[in-house]
């Protein structure tokens, strides 16, 4: 296995707040890497630094061996790195299909318009939006909008997918269906870096887990090892009983 994405000494400050501090880790090809940590640990900031929405103060982001630090988001997308947003960002007046066509047109494949439709439709069907193709994105439920985020980024045929809390706000049935979709995405050969607060879900999905706390890496390793780590229990899980329960889930 070779590293698909390398984060090297990444730092970002907002005024006096150090959101991300000297963070380093790597995402291996074909794995699902879970990213967890308390609110304000710097997880979403890290995503913004990776895909160019924000420029880091120091450090490097290397994707497929190429330094992509600080290049604008649309070029990162073209390079094959797609993401979803924690707070959904639909192109509201456009239909589900049109949203996905934008993803397919301007993603890694850079498809011409007449060929994008097929890829877009396939992605929408894949996440289970086949009944909603012509629905304006603004009229979807929150679960629907989360699916749309996923479909749009999938339509881009990415190599690496960053998922920012795609399970938050979903009911248990929807969570289960979404987990299934994420597994199937990985089976298609897409590497996934996922932020999630639902512990059971991320422990069972991820091959490895990185724990962030106050912008720094607190722990890294297989789910079982991370859930057993006293530092992680203290900072995040808070309760040894919960940790034991999670170990049962792994």
């Amino acid at each position: 296995m070779t590293a698909l994405l390398e984060i090297v000494g990444l730092s970002k400050r907002f005024g006096g707040v150090a959101a991300v501090q000297e963070l380093s880790f790597a995402v291996e090809e074909h794995e699902i890497l879970g990213l967890i940590g308390p609110n304000g640990a710097g997880k979403s900031t890290l995503f913004n630094l990776i895909n160019g929405v924000q420029v880091p103060d120091a450090g490097r982001v290397v994707f497929r061996g190429i330094d992509i630090t600080g290049i604008p988001p649309y070029r990162v997308a073209r390079a094959g790195l797609a993401r979803t947003h924690q707070i959904v960002q639909p192109l509201a007046a456009m239909s589900v299909l049109e949203n996905c066509i934008v993803g397919a047109c301007f993603g890694r494949e850079n498809l011409p318009l007449h060929r994008a439709r097929e890829a877009a439709e396939e992605a929408a069907v894949f996440v289970g939006l086949e009944d909603r193709l012509d629905t304006p994105a603004s009229q979807l439920t929150i679960a629907g909008k989360k699916r749309l985020e996923l479909a749009r980024s999938l339509a881009a045929q990415p190599t690496l997918l960053l998922l920012d809390e795609v399970l938050a706000g979903l009911n248990p049935t929807e969570v289960e269906r979404m987990i299934e979709v994420i597994r199937r995405i990985r089976e298609r050969g897409v590497t996934i870096l996922i932020i999630e607060h639902l512990m059971q879900a991320i422990m069972s999905l991820s091959h490895r887990i990185v724990v962030l706390n106050i912008g720094r890496k607190l722990a890294e390793g297989p789910p079982a090892a991370v859930a057993n780590d006293p530092a992680v229990i203290e900072a995040y899980l808070g309760d040894p009983a919960l940790a034991a329960e999670l170990l049962g889930a792994v």
Binding site: N51, V53, P72, P73, Y74, R75, A77, R78, A82, R83, H85, Q89, P90, L91, A92, A93, M94, E98, I101, V102, G103, C105, F106, G107, N110, P112, L113, H114, A116, R152, S153, A156
Partner: protein, 325 residues
């Protein structure tokens, strides 16, 4: 977008029919009064359709779009008057020069969004007007008068007015087809995505800075040519006419009235607005009463029908979307 698929769409032929109507209606019966009314409508349609590329597609409010029209007029008049070029090359060169300038302005002000961008576009117009007012080669504040001698190559003053009218109708037609082709293209899809949510569009891979600059640049070309023809026809240009913000405001009202983001809307809005204007002008009670109406119209549309006439029509008859695009 393949040419064959466009030729198969009814809307392509509706536009063609509208152009034919503009050509034939005043020609049959040699109706000069109708020609003058339709000439203004053609200018309004050109301005509104091109403004729509920014306002309707990319969601950027350009309050100073008239600067393209005025500068195009100045370049054309200067080329014709001082360099003794023919009207056609002068107008086209004027369009090209203004597009290049628009690209330069655009790279600067398109870093701004929302109200700040709108303010900056007014700033561009006012700055250009101040520059031209003090620019002696272009006549400064008094402007440039053309000798009627210059109409001779077009067959004398009377015939020249017909020639200019036909060319302007051509420019109008090109504006409508440009708007249509952009809307059906990948470029247009990118612009629409930017108009919906620029940050999300960029994350999806839409090269927003390049697309916006290109749209701003393209939307300058045909209005600049129309400006050249319009001021050549009047044989006179001065800064206060060329860079009149009132025209810009009217163009925005027209786009909103007809329906932003559609091809048909700005054309329909422009035609209706010109008819309304002509009708109100014949009343002696108010000078420029159409501006009062325009202001009220804009308020009512923004508050109650943001989709304009086309939005209302689509709401009533959704299938109309496939015919009147």
């Amino acid at each position: 977008m393949r040419v064959g698929t466009i030729l198969g769409r009814p809307f392509f032929w509706i536009v063609a029919a509208a152009i034919a109507l503009f050509v034939l209606a005043p020609t049959l019966g040699n109706n000069v009064e109708l020609r003058e009314s339709l000439l203004l409508a053609a200018v309004y349609i050109t301005l509104a359709s091109n403004l729509n590329l920014m306002l309707g597609y990319a969601g950027y409010v350009n309050f100073g779009s008239i600067v393209f029209f005025g500068l195009g007029g100045y370049f054309c008049i200067y080329f014709v008057n001082s360099l003794h070029w023919g009207l056609a090359p002068a107008a086209i060169a004027g369009g090209a020069a203004v597009s290049v300038l628009a690209l330069l302005f655009g790279l600067g002000i398109l870093r701004l969004r929302g109200a700040y961008f709108a303010l900056a576009t007014i700033g561009v117009n006012e700055a250009v007007m101040a520059f031209v007012t003090n620019f002696q080669p272009w006549g400064g504040g008094t402007g440039i008068y053309l000798s009627t001698e210059l109409f001779k190559p077009l067959g004398g003053p009377a015939a020249a007015l017909w020639v200019i009218y036909y060319i302007l109708v051509g420019v109008m037609g090109l504006s409508l087809y440009l708007s249509y082709f952009v809307k059906l293209s990948k470029f247009g899809l990118g612009l629409l995505a930017i108009g919906q949510n620029e940050d999300a569009a960029a994350v999806l891979g839409v090269p927003a800075p390049r697309y916006k600059a290109l749209a701003y640049c393209v939307s300058a070309f045909l209005p600049a040519i129309a400006g050249g023809l319009y001021f050549f026809k009047g044989a006179f240009i001065q800064p206060t006419d060329a860079f009149d913000l009132q025209f810009s405001t009217e163009a925005i009202v027209i786009v909103m009235l007809g329906g932003q983001g559609t091809v048909m809307g700005p054309a329909l809005g422009a035609y209706l607005y010109e008819q309304l204007r002509g009708w109100l002008l014949t009343s002696d009670t108010f000078a420029n009463f159409q501006l009062v109406i325009a202001g009220v119209l804009l308020l009512v549309i923004v508050l109650f029908a943001p989709g304009g006439l086309m939005g209302w029509l689509y709401g009533r008859w959704p299938r109309l979307k496939r015919v009147l695009e």
